[in-house]
Amino acid sequence: MSAFISPNDLTVQPGGLSMAADVARMKGSLLNNIRRSAYVYRVDCGGCNGCEIEIFAAITPLFDAERFGIKVVASPRHADILLFTGAVTRSMRMPALRAYEAAPDPKIVVSYGACGCSGGIFHDLYCVWGGTDKIVPVDVYIPGCPPTPPATIYGFAVALGLLEQKLKAETHVEAEGEAAPLAHPSIPYDLRVQLERQARQMAGYRQGRTIVEEFLSVLEARDATPVERRIAKLAGGEGDPRRAEIFAELAGTFSRMLTGGTP
């Protein structure tokens, strides 16, 4: 009998590729003053095809990445930019590395989409490496699930050094005596919870919140007109019949709770 073999010894951990110094220098001088088109080769490392659809949406006439000379090509040998999409499945690692090796230096590697940046929703799956940067050195990360065509164009501009990145790492440290403000302190808590619940039930969490915030701001307003009339005006002035009905229901709940009945 053979000795015990740990399953971890059977799987190869991917080693990152490093860049030679002269290649890095070439890349620096290329990005310093880019005066030509940049050709893009798209490497699908096991994505869901959502990113591919958005890449091709970015080269349609509506966004037209080709007006900046960005063109999607069919072979990595023509490419300046390699676009890696997908969470890098185990079986796509070698093809991805081959595409990387086939592209001429200096090349720019872009990690595209949430999966490419960090594995996305698949980050802890057994069959993925979880991100492009686990196998090749990445220059630019474009997050999004999938990134929209404008986000793609912005990412290309950052990759080519034409635009500055906006996002910066931030750390907020709780200040002394920092307290979360209570929303709508002048409205009784039970009433507010009841209205919020009802609005969410009828319009869903996200729209329900905006609708109930609108309703509560009308309740809270310091105004000479009686609150009933203000609410009736809100429901009556609403053009969307669905929203008008929700406002009417909320007004009903409000008046029932005001007279002491059950909601």
Binding site: C117, Y141, P150, A151, I153, L167, H172, E174, L182
Partner: protein
Amino acid sequence: MLKLLREVFRTGEATHKYPFAPLEVAKDFRGKPEHNAVSCIACAACTIACPPNAISMETDVAAGTRTWSISYGRCIFCGRCEEACPTGAIALSPDFELAVARKEDLTKRAVFSLAACPSCGEPLAAAKEVAYVLDILTRSAASPEEAERARFLVSTCPACKRKHDVEQLARIGVERQMENR
């Protein structure tokens, strides 16, 4: 030919001006989740709601801190965090320009302090969360006694609450036995 030209002029230019002009996104566009750390109470509802675990929370008992963090690289912009947030501290913004050259820039953090249980001194929950709940309960309390009871219930840890309950029950038992004699 003229017909075609007329059609071309009628249609005009379809291409967006972006990136030379700001792009107007749709009304319910789901972009970068914007976290307002001041109104956040570190309740961790968003970390449970987040499908790809882009939002996470780590508690360091020794340092007495709880660190909230979001990785925009892993976020799938579903908006569940916004739905789950009780204070409206996190909301999706129309900002889509998220591309970065350094991966660390995709992470945003917020550090909150922990509140200690007044009886045993062990960390209980984020101080802001305790204060927030206490604020709501004190405002809706019917009497000062009820408010005082709410203060005890909110700021005490579960172990101390159990101990307190047992002590009270034991006292009641003795008193009843004394009465019965």
